[in-house]
């Protein structure tokens, strides 16, 4: 990826006007011992220039974070999760941007923003013709300045409710590294918008928040990468996304994380699909020591459709915890969830999904499927596929399977002269292809395969 710093078409400011990246990676020692009240006060004071409603929202979130208890063993929303390792102590906010930004495979895109240690360090501009049509793609702080009312309309309008409320509140309190994508009515953008969040340095935390709003009949793709600068840094992340597809809009969202092997990561996504909107979300999980991902699709208007996809490669002692909810609030809505996990070594995965069909949501067509491919004798896959149906004229099914590679398939490939390692790889990527094949953008498809392959190379 390139990291050019050009002025934002709409506001005429460049990213460097807001945050000047430091020339050296020397991180100044923080006077704070953790994410405490003093650190929060400092965070707020640095943001005095932002709208007051935003600061109030942050204060309320900080109070909520302190008021909410940590998850307990008896919480149904944390069933099977490791609770003891959810330790937030000792993390600090990075004071300076790092120069160390991992290189990710590039693919044609419309515009990109790169965050390093919570600061926008590089961006390419939105093409003039799109900007003229009203397309906005800029860091969150910038958007708060210039498009405050839009942000207010869509920021956290629907509460998180899958268990990570405390960590969402922490995100709201400290978020700085976020982005806003707005595509107005009728505008279609073919190439993806790209966001990259990098966190470098030990004992640091980041809180990205992305808001995507597609107006009526708009069409766009956002690809978001989350990476650590080091392989083994001890880090904390709590990310939140508000994805909103207006009437007839078509939104594709891809989030791919490759955090360090010692990162505690939370990501909470809210997806809203209005009448006849189609949303496809794909989350790729590779990194982290313990990574929890919550995704809630709300189908609010007739004809809305949400495709929820995820791919996870879990190895070593990693724990991936995925919780989903498909809420069908209107008749004639459909959703299709496919979460695939590959498990190696002593890794652990949890998939807990729920489809809720509200009483008026007749003619709902909902599907939910979790497939676990076991490549080790000591890996553990937990699956909780759930349904709550309150309307009778519906088609709702779910399935969950856990199995290994069929020896017959492996044999078949070997019989055709493919060596066992290659055959194994072919079968694993064949397992993933059912999900990746749903992406229309071939360059993106190739980039994701490249990213997943990097994990198998060790």
């Amino acid at each position: 990826m390139t990291s050019v710093s050009e002025p934002c078409e709409r506001c005429g400011k460049s990213a460097s006007d807001f945050h000047q990246p430091m020339s050296a990676p020397a991180l100044s020692a923080s006077p704070f011992t953790g994410l405490d009240s003093a650190r929060f006060a400092q965070h707020l004071s640095q943001r005095g220039h932002l709208p007051s409603w935003w600061l109030e929202t942050k204060k309320a979130a900080w109070n909520q974070f302190n008021a909410l208890p940590m998850p307990a063993r008896t919480d149904e929303t944390w069933r099977f999760s490791s609770i003891g390792s959810l330790d937030l102590a000792g993390f600090n906010l990075p004071e300076d941007a790092s120069v160390h930004i991992p290189h990710l495979s590039a693919f044609p895109h419309t515009a990109e923003i790169i965050f390093s240690n919570r600061q926008a360090v590089g961006r390419s501009t939105v093409p003039a013709e799109l900007a003229a049509q009203g397309v906005i793609f800029c860091p969150l702080d910038e958007a708060l300045h210039h498009h405050g009312e839009l942000i207010k309309t869509y920021f956290q309008k629907l509460p998180a409710n899958l268990g990570s409320e405390k960590f969402v509140a922490l995100n709201t309190a400290f978020t700085g590294a976020g982005a806003f994508l707005y595509v107005p009515k009728g505008v279609e953008v073919a190439l993806p918008f790209v966001l990259q969040h990098t966190l470098s340095g030990a004992n640091l935390a980041t809180f990205p928040h992305t808001i995507v709003v597609l107006g009526e009949q708009a069409k766009a793709t956002l690809v978001e990468f989350f990476v650590s600068g080091e392989r083994d840094a001890h880090q904390l992340v709590s990310g939140v996304n508000d994805l909103h597809a207006g009437t007839g809009a078509q939104l594709t969202y891809v989030g791919a994380q490759n955090w360090s092997r010692d990162t505690l990561a939370f990501q909470t996504n809210s997806i809203v699909a209005e009448r006849d909107a189609r949303v496809l979300s794909l989350n790729v999980h590779l990194g982290g020591r313990q990574a929890r991902h919550e995704s809630h699709s709300r189908l609010l208007g007739t004809g809305a459709h949400s495709e929820m996809l995820a791919l996870t490669v879990a190895n070593a002692t990693q724990e991936f915890d995925q919780r989903t909810l498909q809420t069908h609030a209107s008749p004639h809505t459909s959703s299709n969830l496919l979460y695939k996990n590959v498990l190696l070594d002593t890794a652990k995965t949890i998939f807990s999904g729920l489809i809720i069909v509200e009483p008026d949501a007749q003619k709902t067509d909902a599907y939910q499927s979790n497939r676990n491919l076991m490549l080790s004798d000591t890996a553990e896959a937990n699956s909780l596929p759930g349904l709550e149906i309150e309307a009778n004229d519906v088609r709702c099914t779910h399935g969950s399977t856990t199995s290994r590679i069929e020896p017959e398939q492996q044999f078949y490939l070997q019989a055709r002269g493919i060596d066992p390692t290659k055959a194994h790889e072919l079968l694993v990527f064949g397992f993933f292809e059912e999900v990746l094949g749903k992406l229309e953008n071939e360059d993106l498809h190739a980039a994701l395969i490249e990213l997943i392959k990097s994990k198998f190379k060790k």
Binding site: R79, S376, L387, E390, D393, V394, T402, R404
Partner: protein, 480 residues
């Protein structure tokens, strides 16, 4: 087993000409003079009273008192279960009633009023010859008990649990509370504190009991909780089928039923446990059922839940020995004001173990049916298989169904599958049948019976007949 068609009507009760169902059945109450009555409410004194009336050994009293403490200490599991549990008022429940009778050995010794109750329920005297033994529990104590000579001669012990504690303590103590420990859940603790009645069966090695053993349960005193305790042990290579059926009179205030059923299938043994229940819709039915299957053993639960205000029941099998097999076949029907929260638990604890769960539920009117299941395959096991299927049928627009399975698999040599579907009866089917002269209600009944037919066929014949009748009865008035 209750084939009402073959019964001479006891009085002028209205018989439904279409379904052949006596709608008054199960909706009556006889006065019974209880000789022992522990009163309402639950304290240490209640437990001591029950134990002393039963003339129990000190270790049992101690067991009960410990269990009472566990019950009081444990919170209601409302963090995952329905809040309706909070409506149980434990201080208003009678925990023990008995007429102080010894279990009867012959039909003639059974008091007439009790006989009349059984007749209304449809246990004809003629049926006795087809039954290997009848252990009919009338409230707390078994009022009638008979084991056919053949079964007794084979060395099979079939008696109520009170009798078993007195006469076979060496077998009882060895297995009692081992499959379901007192602290397993709040209601197993409650049962352990105040249990009375229930069956005890021991089948010696290699004995195959040809006829199913049966017990018929009823609740017949208002606000009276029934806490039966059943323990079945099938020794190596033996086989036994046990059937229980439940109907309860309808009462105005809530009644609590909380049983504990423990099964032990030793090496190569087979146990089949069949339940058809039709509780009145004010009953809280909170039952813990679990079996342990040793090497090459097989345990099969066939469970049919109709009626009750709230049923929570998840029959389980711990697959403890290699190649053990567990199966749960479950049918639930929830009508207005009813919540069937049923399911299954399969705990794999040895290599090459297999489990199968097939659950079908029907929600009628505002009924709510819930499937809750657990499949657990821990580490270091090889070649375990599970297959789970849950199908839900929703009849009316405001019917409700939920599915909450939990599956844990460790290792790469297992095959686990879970599938669930939710559907309604298709309009084409109903239309087709109406074209052939059936009323809409008849068509609906037929479609529902078709939905559960493949499971119902697994029930013994007399049960499947009764079951189809119960379904017809429940479906009445649900359409049109």
């Amino acid at each position: 087993m209750a084939d009402t068609d073959t019964l001479p009507p006891a009085d002028d009760t209205a018989v439904n000409p279409v379904g052949g169902i006596d709608q008054a059945v199960g909706n009556f109450q006889y006065d019974v003079n209880y000789e022992f009555d522990a009163g309402t409410g639950l304290t240490e004194d209640t437990v001591r009273y029950i134990s002393s009336v039963k003339k129990e050994a000190p270790w049992i009293l101690e067991f009960r008192l410990k269990a009472l403490q566990t019950f009081l200490d444990k919170p209601m599991p409302t963090h995952w279960a329905t809040k309706d549990l909070e409506n149980i008022d434990f201080s208003k429940i009678r925990y023990y009633l008995s007429q102080g009778q010894k279990p009867k050995r012959t039909w003639d010794e059974v008091p007439d009023d009790i006989k009349q109750t059984f007749e209304r329920l449809g246990i004809p005297e003629q049926e006795r010859k087809f039954l290997a033994g009848v252990e009919a529990q009338f409230d707390s104590e078994a009022a009638y008990s008979n084991i056919k000579d053949i079964v007794a001669k084979q060395g099979v012990i079939f008696c109520n649990s009170t009798e078993a504690l007195r006469e076979h303590p060496e077998i009882f103590k060895k297995f009692f509370g081992k499959v379901i420990p007192t602290g397993d859940n709040k209601f197993s603790a409650l049962n352990s504190a105040v249990f009375s009645g229930g069956s005890f069966i021991y089948v010696p090695p290699g004995v195959k009991v040809a006829q199913p053993l049966q017990a018929y349960f009823r609740i017949n005193a208002e606000n009276f909780g029934q806490f039966e305790r059943t323990l079945i042990i099938a020794d190596e290579g033996s086989e036994v089928v046990y059937m229980e059926g439940c109907t309860a009179p309808k009462f105005s205030t809530s009644t609590l039923h909380s049983a504990v059923v423990e099964l032990v299938a030793l090496k190569g043994a087979k146990i089949q446990y069949i339940t058809v229940q039709n509780w009145a819709n004010n009953v809280f039915n909170l039952v813990t059922k679990r079996g342990v299957a040793h090497e090459d053993a097989e345990i099969k639960w066939i469970d049919c839940n109709i009626g009750s205000r709230l049923t929570m029941k998840y029959p389980g099998v711990v697959l403890k020995g290699k190649r053990a097999r567990g199966e749960v076949i479950s049918i639930a029907l929830a009508n207005d004001g009813q919540h069937q929260d049923t399911g299954a638990k399969m705990i794999h604890a040895a290599d090459d173990t297999t489990s199968v769960i097939v659950a079908k539920s029907i929600s009628v009117g505002q009924g709510r049916s819930t499937y809750r299941g657990q499949v657990h395959i821990p580490k270091h096991l090889k070649g375990c298989k599970n297959n789970t299927e849950c199908d839900a049928l929703l009849i009316n627009t405001n019917s409700r169904t939920d599915t909450y399975p939990a599956i844990t698999v460790r290792g790469d040599t297992h095959a686990v599958q879970h599938e669930a579907s939710v559907s309604k009866v298709s309009e084409e089917q109903i239309f087709y049948m109406q074209q052939r002269g059936l009323t809409e209600a008849q068509a609906m009944s037929l479609a529902v019976n078709g939905f559960v037919n493949d499971l119902v066929r697994q029930f013994p014949m007399e049960y499947s007949v009764e079951l189809k009748r119960l379904i017809d009865l429940e479906m009445e008035g649900s359409v049109g």
